[in-house]
């Protein structure tokens, strides 16, 4: 066992558990109270806006949420089919 491994094994995991729970419950309490899931709403509305301008299959849109203690990030990843991929040739 390496020296690093020895210290790492002794590192306590309870404070990590505590912090993860605090972040999680802070979010869950607001969601449960408001009946609505913010991520779900944002996802649906973003999808609707995209659908107005282009045909993108549902599974090509990825919405990711990363909830932190101070800030949360919402990541929207849309795969837009290029003309080549759809079999169309660019104008010569």
């Amino acid at each position: 066992m390496s020296l690093f491994g020895f210290f790492k094994r002794n590192a306590t995991s309870a404070p990590v558990a505590r912090e993860r729970l605090q972040v999680l419950l802070a979010h869950e309490r607001t969601i449960v109270g408001g009946e609505s899931d913010l991520v779900a709403i944002l996802r649906e509305e973003i999808m609707a806006v995209i659908a107005r301008h282009m045909a993108v299959p549902q599974d090509k849109v990825q919405v990711k949420m990363d909830r932190g203690a101070a800030v949360s990030t919402l990541e929207v990843d849309i795969e837009i089919p290029t003309p080549v991929a759809t079999g169309m040739r660019p104008a010569a």
Binding site: A14, Q22, E28, R29, V32, G33
Partner: protein
């Protein structure tokens, strides 16, 4: 005036049934008339932990449906005269727990007993919501572990919104029962400490039941731990819990709310 107490947790396997049996027996040992009611329809186990599995004739669903009278379904404990069990059905479905039927059974039990202790099934579905529906007091059984604490938080939200008391604008009195606690491991930082759990859930502590082989030993022989191993640490914890529930001691272990709870108050679900 009878009190209806629900033993609940959200998560399974944290010790609801063990605690129901132990609290029920401990209350009955003080001379109180107690009925313990198993709401885990389809997966009954309170009968087994209480050592009454071979004496079940009628069950909660029979009484709810009016197929049996309450007196016929109640099983009297062989060790303590004032302790009674109303078992769950093993063959029926939880959908048989009708709102009116359960209300009628609880009203009937209130007339006969000092304490009605409802053993909730895991989860937050019908069996669990029916078990907490008429509660005056809730004992939330929690292990010092992340998934158990998260589920307890969810259940506390339900107690504050889906119960009869909550709908009348009143509060169900809530108590935390921390079970399977290993103080040495908490000291080493391997599991969450009592203080951490209390700060996160922000409800008063009823008792800490230490991890112990005596709990398993008692359920093996079909005795509530307060009867099976009356001098063990878990039994003493449950006996202490009962003294607090009866209002003998007003030792509020944790009064002030932690910073976390002030910043993120739990809202009604």
């Amino acid at each position: 005036m009878a009190k209806v107490l629900v033993v609940t947790s959200g998560k399974g396997g944290v010790g609801k049934t063990t605690s129901t049996a132990a609290l029920g027996a401990a209350l009955a040992q003080t001379g109180q008339k107690v009925a313990v009611v198993d709401f885990d329809v389809g997966l009954r186990n309170l009968d087994l932990v209480m050592g009454a599995e071979r004496r079940v004739v009628f069950d909660l669903i029979n009484v709810v449906n009016g197929d049996a009278r309450l007196e016929q379904a109640l099983i009297r404990d062989k060790r303590i005269e004032t302790l009674h069990l109303l078992p769950a059905s093993q063959t029926r479905d939880k959908d048989n727990l009708t709102e009116e039927g359960v209300a009628r059974v609880i009203d009937g039990l209130r007339e006969k007993f000092d304490w009605v202790i409802c053993d909730s099934p895991a989860g937050i579905e019908r069996g669990a919501t029916m078990a907490m529906r008429h509660a005056d007091i809730a004992v939330i059984v929690t292990n010092p572990e992340v998934s158990s604490i998260r589920d307890s938080d969810r259940v506390i939200g339900l107690l504050d919104s889906k119960t009869e008391k909550a709908e009348k604008g009143e509060q169900v009195e809530k108590h935390l029962l921390l079970t399977r606690y290993d103080a040495a491991r908490a000291q080493r930082g391997e599991i969450l400490k009592v203080e951490d759990v209390l700060e996160i859930l922000s409800i008063p502590l009823l008792a800490i039941v230490p991890e112990s082989v005596e709990v398993l030993r008692s359920s093996n022989i079909g005795a509530p731990v307060t009867l099976g191993s009356p001098n063990s640490a878990p039994a003493r914890a449950y006996l202490d819990a009962v003294r607090k529930l009866r209002g003998e001691t007003h030792v509020e272990v944790q009064k002030q709310r932690g910073l976390f709870s002030k910043l993120f108050p739990r809202r009604a679900a």
